[in-house]
């Protein structure tokens, strides 16, 4: 429908499109150079370029520990969420499961329940269970939030899979375990990995639940950034943001690659 578009409308479309793209991308681009600013203020203009704030992330005990904590908690939550989410996605696929759609809706609920509400409940419960201020508690809390992403991603690749492959394998005498290991698992692997990547990214960015259930020893990078913006705006925040943006781009590239591979696997030439 571009053929007969009037020039005025066309120009309006271009101006609007450029303006929105600018609105969406400018903030993310604007924060990047500040990571290399030598000034102690988190602001422009850039006095001179230096890597002192990356050094700060490494040498400052708070920042270093928070990065380590994020990696520990993120890995733990990713493992828990990926295992539980993948199993559940396999179970939900069965036509024999009663109330499958209601169960799926329930499993996706952690994605929509406001984090503050879940956080208040968890803080009360953890107090009773003795999980407050423990790594296990934070890992579990993050895993709850990560599970829907794994479920959606694995279910997606299961739906895209040709069911006849499994039937063919079992008709040729393969046991269910063998069918899963040799047929199902390799085909849905990109879906599982995508889910795991999403899970890790979710855990990395989580602040609210961490505020409620983590003690000072479990302070994560996101939690530390939140505190830093709120209390003492240090340019170390920009350095941390830089690392997170670069990490995000790598993760997005990885997911794109996995998608591309799974599409190639599903549509053999």
């Amino acid at each position: 429908m571009s053929g007969q578009t009037s020039p005025i409308l066309r120009i309006a479309q271009i101006v609007f499109g450029v303006a929105v793209v600018f609105f969406l991308l400018a903030p993310i681009v604007a924060i990047l150079p500040l990571a290399f600013n030598s000034s102690v203020f988190l602001n422009y203009p850039i006095e001179s370029f230096s890597s002192r704030w990356f050094g700060e992330l490494q040498s400052n005990d708070m920042w270093r520990r928070s990065i380590v904590n994020s990696l520990i908690i993120g890995s733990g939550a990713t493992i828990v969420a990926t295992v539980l989410g993948t199993l559940a996605a396999l179970g939900l696929r069965s036509s024999q499961l009663p109330f499958a759609s209601a169960i799926r809706t329930t499993f996706l609920m952690p994605m929509v329940v406001p984090a503050v509400v879940l956080g208040v409940g968890m803080q009360m419960l953890y107090g009773r269970l003795g999980l407050a201020n423990s790594y296990l508690g934070v890992v579990v809390a993050h895993a709850v939030l990560c599970i829907p992403f794994v479920l959606v991603s694995v279910s997606g690749s299961l739906n895209a899979m040709d069911p006849w492959l499994e039937r063919a394998a079992s008709s040729l005498g393969a046991s269910p375990t063998r069918v899963f290991r040799r047929i199902t698992m390799p085909i849905i692997m990109p879906g599982i990995l995508t889910g795991a990547v999403f899970a890790f990214a979710t855990s990395l960015d989580e602040v609210v639940l961490t505020l409620f259930v983590a003690g000072p020893n479990q302070r994560t990078l996101a939690r530390q950034m939140f505190a830093s913006i709120r209390e003492n705006i240090s340019p170390a925040v920009a350095a941390a943001a830089f690392l997170m943006i670069v990490g995000t781009l790598c993760i997005a590239g990885l997911v794109g690659f996995l998608r591309w591979r799974s599409q190639k696997a599903l549509k053999p030439a």
């Binding site: 422009y44 559940a88 069965s94 956080g119 602040v207 920009a238």
Partner: protein, 395 residues
């Protein structure tokens, strides 16, 4: 045949069981704990357990009995956490003022007197002879209470047990709920106003233009929420890029107040939530056959007419689910208002967080949380129904 279907069902159940159990313990149980906290009040009965039992049997008619006085003295002689005692006194005082002095005087007298020695409460303080203090105590005793739920919407029970409005100065929960609703609605409207034309342009474009338009939506979605909020913090401050740019081109001489106020919160939230609006509309538009608009034109429809009667109705389901999604997520927002908002831009989530972590008032945190949870769940169910409706399946 039957047994193989049975086996398949059992296997499916076995596969979902671990997640089911996990979410029951770490998702449903916390939410249930919060709900129970919103209707439970153990502050007074925890400190005065015997008095609670005796008062439960008292019908509230006639003068206070010696048994009631004796049980109160026994309770007050028990060693008790001073924090919990303070909470209980505050709770009693909220029923009827005067309990603060009454309880502290009585407690020190009870502890001062020898073990097993009978005490005349009326001699310690004549107010104990007045049944209204015992009635107030009785009202504060029940384990289950609706006071937090009522207080969450600025209501309370008066002395005779009727629901009444709270004094306008003492609570602002309704105002905060209204504010939460207004902020979420403004953000949703802004996202719709920007997102709908943007999705239309993206769906109509081709090649690298479309790729750029989509990457511009997906990249922020992939970027940490905290990073995006930090970025807005940098842009919006008084010496930030936006104010500097406006000053340089001479539009303003004094910096515009953009941060720690409503403007900043709405700008940052719109930025964060815009992808949730664009993506559903865009994916709905993609499924529209490319020849539909030319077909409308060939049938004599003007461009505006074709747009209004063909394209817009087809974009509508995506617009609806996008709006619901944005509104639902916006209602529970905490981080962005906390970082770029001022004191008057805090939404219901920060009030909940304040009650939970600031004052350990679990009843109020639970009651406000329950309201937010119910609203969000209802919106989610509507959203699920909407995205499964025939029009959406067709797209």
């Amino acid at each position: 045949m039957m047994s193989s279907a049975m086996r398949a069902r059992l296997r499916a159940l076995g596969l979902i069981m671990p997640l089911m159990a996990f979410l029951l313990v770490f998702f449903v149980w916390p939410l249930a704990t919060m709900m129970v906290a919103s209707v439970t009040d153990g502050t007074v009965r925890g400190v005065l357990p015997q008095t609670a039992t005796v008062l439960a049997k008292w019908d509230g008619e006639g003068p206070p009995t010696p048994e009631m006085a004796a049980s109160l003295v026994t309770d007050l002689r028990m060693p008790v956490d001073s924090l919990a005692f303070g909470d209980a006194v505050r709770r009693l005082n909220s029923e009827l003022s005067g309990f603060r002095s009454l309880m502290s005087r009585t407690a020190s007298a009870a502890k001062g007197a020898g073990e097993g020695q009978a005490l005349d409460l009326v001699a310690i303080d004549p107010r104990w002879g007045d049944a209204k203090y015992w009635l107030a105590m009785k009202r504060a005793m029940p384990l289950y209470t609706d006071r937090y739920l009522l207080a969450a919407v600025d209501l309370e029970r008066d002395a005779s047990g009727n629901v009444a409005g709270l004094d306008a100065n003492t609570s602002a929960n309704r105002q905060i709920m209204l504010r939460t609703f207004l902020i979420a609605a403004s953000v949703t409207l802004l996202c719709a106003a920007i997102g709908l034309p943007y999705a239309l342009i993206a769906a109509a474009s081709k090649g690298w233009v479309r790729a750029i338009l989509l990457i511009a939506v997906l990249l922020p979605l992939w970027t940490s929420l905290l990073v995006r909020t930090a970025a807005w913090f940098i842009l919006l401050q008084n010496e930030g890029l936006i104010n500097d740019a406006l000053k340089t081109i001479g539009l303003i001489s004094e910096p515009l107040p953009l941060i720690f106020n409503r403007t900043g919160v709405i700008i940052a939230m719109t930025h964060v939530l815009l992808p949730f609006m664009v993506l559903p509309i865009y994916s709905g538009l993609l499924t529209i056959p490319a020849n539909l608009m030319p077909a409308a034109a060939s049938l004599g429809a003007s461009r505006i007419k074709a747009f209004r009667h063909v394209l817009l109705p087809l974009a509508f389901p995506g617009l609806m689910s996008g709006s619901l999604l944005v509104f639902m997520v916006a209602l529970g927002y905490y981080i962005t208002p906390a970082l770029v908002g001022g004191a008057n831009d805090q939404m219901i989530s920060s009030v909940i967080a304040f009650f939970a972590t600031g004052t350990a008032n679990w009843g109020m945190a639970g009651a406000l949380g329950l309201i937010l949870l119910v609203v969000t769940t209802v919106l989610y169910l509507v959203y699920g129904r909407l995205s499964r409706s025939p029009t959406m399946v067709a797209t």
